[in-house]
C-alpha cells in the first residue's frame, strides 16, 4: 500500500507540474524496475497508483463543475451517464500503469538484478 501511495503522490506531482499524461506509465515502470518484488506486485502497484490517481482526480473534477462536459463525453463514447466517465478514466490509467509496472519488473528480472524494495 505504501508503494501505491508513494507512486500515486509522485505521479500527482509530475502531472500537476507538467502537461504530460504518460508520467503514470514512467513512474509505474520505475517502480517495477527498481522496487517491485514480483511481476504481480509491479502490475498491481502500477494499476492501483495510476487508477486511483485518475479515479480521484476524475471524481474531483466531475464534482467541481465537470458534469456537463463529462455528460457530453459520455455521449461521445456511447455511455449513458457522466458518472461512467470516472471509472473509464480510472481503468485506462490503471491499464497503462499496470503494463508499465510489469514491464519494468520484467526488464529488471531479465537483467538479473535483485530488487532492493521493501514489502509493500
Amino acid at each position: 500500500m505504501i508503494a501505491v501511495a508513494v507512486c500515486l503522490l509522485v505521479m500527482l506531482a509530475l502531472q500537476v507540474l507538467t502537461p504530460f499524461w504518460w508520467w503514470i506509465m514512467i513512474v509505474a515502470f520505475a517502480h517495477g524496475a527498481a522496487v517491485a518484488k514480483s511481476g504481480r506486485n509491479a502490475f498491481r502497484t502500477g494499476f492501483g497508483a495510476a487508477g486511483l490517481l485518475w479515479l480521484g482526480a476524475g471524481l474531483y473534477f466531475l464534482l467541481a463543475g465537470g458534469r456537463p462536459i463529462a455528460g457530453r463525453m459520455a455521449g461521445m463514447f456511447g455511455l449513458g451517464s457522466p458518472w461512467l466517465m470516472v471509472p473509464v478514466t480510472a481503468l485506462v490509467a490503471g491499464l497503462a500503469g499496470a503494463v508499465a509496472g510489469y514491464a519494468g519488473y520484467a526488464v529488471r528480472d531479465a537483467l538479473g538484478k535483485r530488487g532492493s524494495g521493501r514489502k509493500s
Binding site: 506509465m25 485518475w54 463543475g65 456537463p68 461521445m76 520484467a106
Partner: protein
C-alpha cells in the same frame, strides 16, 4: 525465457503507450483525452469564470468588458483599435475552436485536421476558389486604413488569447481531434465572409436547367420557371416608381469583356495560406431563407418604427452567431456578430437598426471552355487562343501524403470539375466549365459593416451599403427619425434577361458579364405608403424594375404571410412582433387543402386514410409540433409534387428540376386539367383528381411504413426531429430530437436542421428597446452552462430583452461581472 518476457512486456507497454497517445482514425488519443490534469476533465465549468483583470499585449488604454447574466459581453474601449482587439480576445475566449475550424474548412485545409476522408471536400473548396476569393478581398480590406486597423487589432486580440492557452485550457474539441490552434490571421476573417457568400450566393441550377431546356424546350422551361411567378409578392411593393432608366443595351457584347473576369491573375501560392476545416457541410443546406420587416410608426402603438429580422441558417453548436455590444468614441452598437469577424453584423445602435435576408440574385455563372489541347494551357475566346493560368493547391493531409491539385483559371474564373471526375456532393458542377462568381472579386464588406455600425440615418446606411458587394441581401432599415426602408443590396452583374440561367458559352465575349448594375439603381424603397417593408428571400421587384438580376428566388409562402399580417396590423407592439416571429400558419395548405379534400372526399380506403382525412379536415393550417396534420400534408404535398413533375423529364435529363411551389399551387387552383398532371407513363390522360388520389394513397402508405399506424408517432414535431448538430459532428456534443413548432415555408421556419439563427425585434423609440434569441449559447465550450442556454427560449419563442448599456458604469440589474483589460507595460 526472462529475456523473451521482458521484450514482450516492453513491447506491450510500448503498444499501450502508442495506442493511448495517438488518434486512430476518428478515435481520439485516450490517454491524453482522459488525463484528468490536461484532458477533457479540465474543460468543465471553470470556463465560465469571469476574469477580473487581464493583461493583453497590444492594448493602448484600459478596456472594460461588462458581462450580463446571459454571458453577453459589452465592450467599452477608448479607440477603435482597442475595441476590436478586445473583441478578438473575447470572441476567441468564447469560440476559438469554432473560429479556426470554420476557417480551415473554408480554405480547403480540413484534411490537416480530419485526415484523408476530407480530401474531396478540400479539393472542392480549393477548386471553387474560396481561399483565393478571400485573398482577393483581403487586399482590398488592407487598402482601407479603417478596416486594416480593425482586422489587425482583431487578429492581435485572438492571438493574445491563443498565446495564453496552455494545453490544459485548450477547447475540448482540440483535445478530441488532437490538434492545436495555429496563429490567427486577417485572412481567416475574410475567409468567413467568403464562407457566407458560398452559403448564400452560390446556389445555382444552371446545369440541370440547361439539360431541361435542351430536352423540353425553352418555352416549357419558361412556363414552369417564370421570371415573374404567380402568387409571389415582390420585396419592392408593386407600383413603386423607379426614377432611372435601365441599361441601354442589355445584350451588348463589349470586346474587353467589361467585368468579364476577376481582376488580376490568380495569386501565386506564396500568399498567406488560410486554415482548413472539416467537411460537415456547415456551409450549405437546403432551405436557406430568412425574414425581415419593419413597421412604420403610423402603424405602431408607441408611434415608433419597429424592425424585425430572423435569418435562417443551418442549426449548429456552437451557434453561428454570438451577441455582443461594442462601444468606443463614435460607435455604440449591439447585435450579433460572427465570431471570426470584427464588428456587429446585424443589430442596432442608438439611432438605427438593420437586418438581413438573403437576396438570392444570381451572381454565379458557368461557362463552357474549349481548350486547345490536353495541356489546358490555352482556351478559345473571341476567336483567339488565350492563355490559362494555374494555381497550385497543396493539401496537407493528416496521416497521409500531401495532395497537389492544379486549378486551371480562365479569365472567367477556375474550372471546378473535369469530365473524368465524379460529381461533387456539394453542387451540380458542369464538367469542364469555368466558374464566374461575384464573390471572387475584391470587395470590402468589413468597411460596409464598419460604417453601418456607426450609421445615424438612412442616408448613412445607403452610403455604408454601397460597399456591400456579396452576398447580395435584402437589408431592412429603421431609424429613430421614423424612416423605414428596404434595399435589395449588392453588386449585381449587368446581363440580358435570363442570361446565366443556363450554362454560358465561354468562348463568346457577348456571354460575359457586361458590367455592373449601378449601385444607385439597386431595388430599394423608403417609407412606402403601406407603412411597412418586408422580405422573405422572394423576387426583388416586379416587371417595372428595369434590370434583370436573377430568376430563382424563394417561393411565395413566407413573404405573402408576412404581408398579409402586416397589411392588417394596427397599433403594433413589440410583443406582437415577437409573436409574429413564431407564426406558423401554412398558407400553402390554406390555399390548396380545401380543394384537395374536396377531391379526396369519400375516397379514403382503410382506417389510416380515414384518420388522416379527418385530421386534415379539422386542421387550422398551423404547423404545430403536437399536431399530426402537418405531417400528413407535408407528405401529401411531396407526393403530389413528385407525381406532377418527375414524369415531365425527357431525353437524357437527370432529375427534373422542381418548379417552385407556387406553380403547383396555381395549377391546383386554376388549371386542374393541366397537361402537367397527366402521368406520361400511362396511356390514359390523368387530371388533378386522379393524381391527387394516387398521391394521397402513396403518402399515407409512406407514413405508415415510416411511423406505424397513425398516432402519436406521427406528430409533426417528432417526425421533423429538429436537431442542432455539433459543427464537427462529434456525437453527444449537439442536441437531438427537439420537438418544435414551425416549418420551412412558414414564418417560424424551423425545419429539421435549418431554422431562424437569430431573431431580433427592435423598437426605435426615445430609448431603443430590443429582444432577441438564437439557437445556441454564447459559449462555444461544450462544458459551459452557456453552451446551449438559449435553446429553450428560442424554441418556445420567448426572446430575451437585450441589455444595451450607455456606458461601462451604467448600473443594470442583469449584470454578472466585469473584466478590466490593460495592455502590457
Amino acid at each position: 525465457m526472462k529475456t523473451v518476457r521482458a521484450v514482450v512486456s516492453l513491447l506491450l507497454a510500448g503498444l499501450v503507450f502508442w495506442a493511448l497517445d495517438n488518434r486512430h482514425g476518428t478515435f481520439p488519443a485516450l490517454g491524453r483525452l482522459l488525463d484528468p490534469f490536461t484532458g477533457f476533465w479540465q474543460n468543465g465549468s471553470r470556463v465560465d469564470r469571469i476574469p477580473r483583470k487581464l493583461v493583453i499585449p497590444g492594448l493602448r488604454d484600459e478596456v472594460r468588458v461588462v458581462w450580463d447574466d446571459r454571458r453577453v459581453p459589452h465592450i467599452f474601449a477608448g479607440s477603435d483599435h482597442d475595441l476590436y482587439l478586445a473583441q478578438g480576445w473575447v470572441a476567441a475566449s468564447l469560440r476559438l475552436w469554432q473560429m479556426e475550424f470554420q476557417a480551415l474548412y473554408t480554405a480547403g485545409r480540413i484534411s490537416e485536421v480530419v485526415g484523408p476522408l476530407a480530401v474531396p471536400q478540400d479539393i472542392f473548396n480549393r477548386r471553387f476558389g474560396l481561399a483565393w476569393a478571400a485573398e482577393n478581398s483581403l487586399r482590398t480590406m488592407r487598402e482601407d486604413p479603417r478596416t486594416r486597423e480593425a482586422l489587425e487589432a482583431f487578429t492581435a486580440g485572438v492571438n493574445a488569447y491563443i498565446r495564453c492557452l496552455g494545453r490544459r485550457r485548450l477547447p475540448v474539441e482540440y483535445k478530441i481531434l488532437d490538434h492545436r490552434p495555429e496563429p490567427w490571421t486577417d485572412l481567416k476573417c475574410a475567409l468567413l465572409l467568403k464562407a457566407m457568400s458560398y452559403t448564400l450566393a452560390s446556389g445555382n441550377r444552371d446545369a440541370a436547367m440547361t439539360a431541361a431546356r435542351d430536352a423540353l424546350g425553352e418555352a416549357t422551361v419558361d412556363r414552369l420557371f417564370p421570371f415573374f411567378p404567380p402568387l409571389v409578392e415582390p420585396v419592392i411593393p408593386p407600383g413603386t416608381a423607379f426614377e432611372f432608366e435601365g441599361p441601354a443595351s442589355p445584350a451588348g457584347g463589349s470586346e474587353a469583356g467589361g467585368t468579364g473576369g476577376t481582376d488580376g491573375e490568380p495569386p501565386a501560392s506564396g500568399l498567406p495560406k488560410p486554415p482548413d476545416l472539416l467537411s460537415s457541410g456547415f456551409l450549405r443546406g437546403p432551405g436557406v431563407g430568412s425574414n425581415n420587416w419593419a413597421v412604420a410608426g403610423k402603424r405602431t402603438r408607441g408611434g415608433f418604427p419597429i424592425l424585425c429580422n430572423d435569418m435562417h441558417l443551418e442549426l449548429a453548436l456552437p451557434a453561428i452567431w454570438y451577441e455582443v455590444q461594442l462601444a468606443a468614441p463614435g460607435v455604440n452598437v449591439r447585435g450579433v456578430a460572427f465570431p471570426s469577424v470584427p464588428q456587429v453584423v446585424a443589430g442596432y445602435n442608438e439611432n438605427v437598426a438593420w437586418g438581413f435576408t438573403n437576396g438570392g440574385s444570381d451572381v454565379l455563372d458557368w461557362y463552357t471552355v474549349t481548350f486547345k489541347d490536353d495541356t489546358r494551357a490555352e482556351y478559345l475566346y473571341g476567336g483567339q487562343w488565350r492563355k490559362t493560368t494555374a494555381r497550385e493547391e497543396r493539401i496537407a493531409v493528416r496521416g497521409g501524403r500531401t495532395v497537389v491539385d492544379r486549378v486551371v483559371h480562365t479569365h472567367h474564373g477556375p474550372v471546378v470539375r473535369w469530365a473524368d471526375e465524379p460529381p461533387f456532393p456539394d453542387m451540380d458542377v458542369p464538367a469542364g466549365a469555368a466558374l464566374r462568381w461575384a464573390a471572387h472579386d475584391p470587395s470590402n464588406e468589413i468597411a460596409s459593416i464598419y460604417a453601418l455600425n456607426r450609421a445615424r440615418s438612412y442616408e448613412d446606411c445607403v452610403e455604408a451599403l454601397g460597399m456591400w458587394d456579396c452576398p447580395g441581401q435584402n437589408i431592412v432599415f429603421a431609424g429613430r427619425d421614423g424612416t423605414i426602408a428596404i434595399r435589395h443590396n449588392g453588386k449585381f452583374p449587368l446581363r440580358r434577361k435570363g442570361q446565366g440561367r443556363y450554362v454560358l458559352d465561354g468562348s463568346d465575349p457577348a456571354d460575359d458579364w457586361q458590367g455592373w448594375v449601378p449601385y444607385e439603381h439597386v431595388p430599394a424603397v423608403k417609407d412606402p405608403d403601406r407603412g411597412f417593408v418586408s422580405s422573405a428571400n422572394q423576387l426583388y421587384a416586379g416587371p417595372e424594375y428595369p434590370y434583370y438580376l436573377g430568376w430563382d428566388y424563394a417561393p411565395f409562402e413566407r413573404g405573402a404571410r408576412i404581408n398579409e399580417i402586416l397589411a392588417k396590423a394596427r397599433d403594433v407592439t413589440p410583443e406582437d412582433m415577437v409573436r409574429m416571429h413564431t407564426d406558423v400558419l401554412d398558407i400553402r395548405a390554406r390555399a390548396v387543402l380545401p380543394r384537395l379534400l374536396e377531391l379526396l372526399e369519400g375516397k379514403a380506403a382503410g382506417g389510416a386514410e380515414e384518420k388522416c382525412f379527418e385530421e386534415l379536415q379539422a386542421w387550422n393550417f398551423e404547423a404545430r409540433a403536437a399536431s399530426m396534420a402537418p405531417t400528413v400534408f407535408r407528405e401529401l404535398w411531396a407526393e403530389l409534387d413528385r407525381a406532377t413533375w418527375s414524369d415531365e423529364k425527357k431525353g437524357d435529363m437527370g432529375r427534373m428540376p422542381r418548379p417552385a411551389s407556387e406553380i403547383l399551387v396555381d395549377l391546383v387552383l386554376n388549371d386542374p386539367g393541366s397537361e402537367f398532371f397527366d402521368d406520361r407513363s400511362t396511356p390514359e390522360r390523368e387530371a388533378l383528381a386522379e393524381i391527387a388520389e394516387r398521391a394521397w394513397r402513396t403518402a399515407v402508405g409512406n407514413l405508415e411504413k415510416s411511423w406505424g399506424p397513425p398516432g402519436p408517432s406521427w406528430k409533426w414535431g417528432k417526425v421533423k426531429g429538429t436537431r442542432l448538430g455539433h459543427l464537427a459532428r462529434i456525437p453527444g456534443f449537439g442536441l437531438e430530437g427537439l420537438e418544435v413548432d414551425g416549418a420551412g415555408h412558414v414564418i417560424n421556419a424551423i425545419e429539421r436542421a435549418w431554422a431562424p439563427s437569430w431573431r431580433m425585434v427592435v423598437e426605435l423609440g426615445s430609448e431603443v428597446r430590443a429582444w432577441g434569441s438564437y439557437p445556441g449559447g454564447q459559449s462555444g465550450h461544450p462544458g459551459s452552462r452557456f453552451y446551449d442556454s438559449f435553446v429553450d427560449g428560442w424554441a418556445a419563442g420567448r426572446p430575451a430583452k437585450l441589455v444595451f448599456l450607455k456606458s461601462a458604469d451604467e448600473p443594470h440589474p442583469a449584470l454578472a461581472g466585469r473584466t478590466v483589460m490593460r495592455g502590457a507595460r
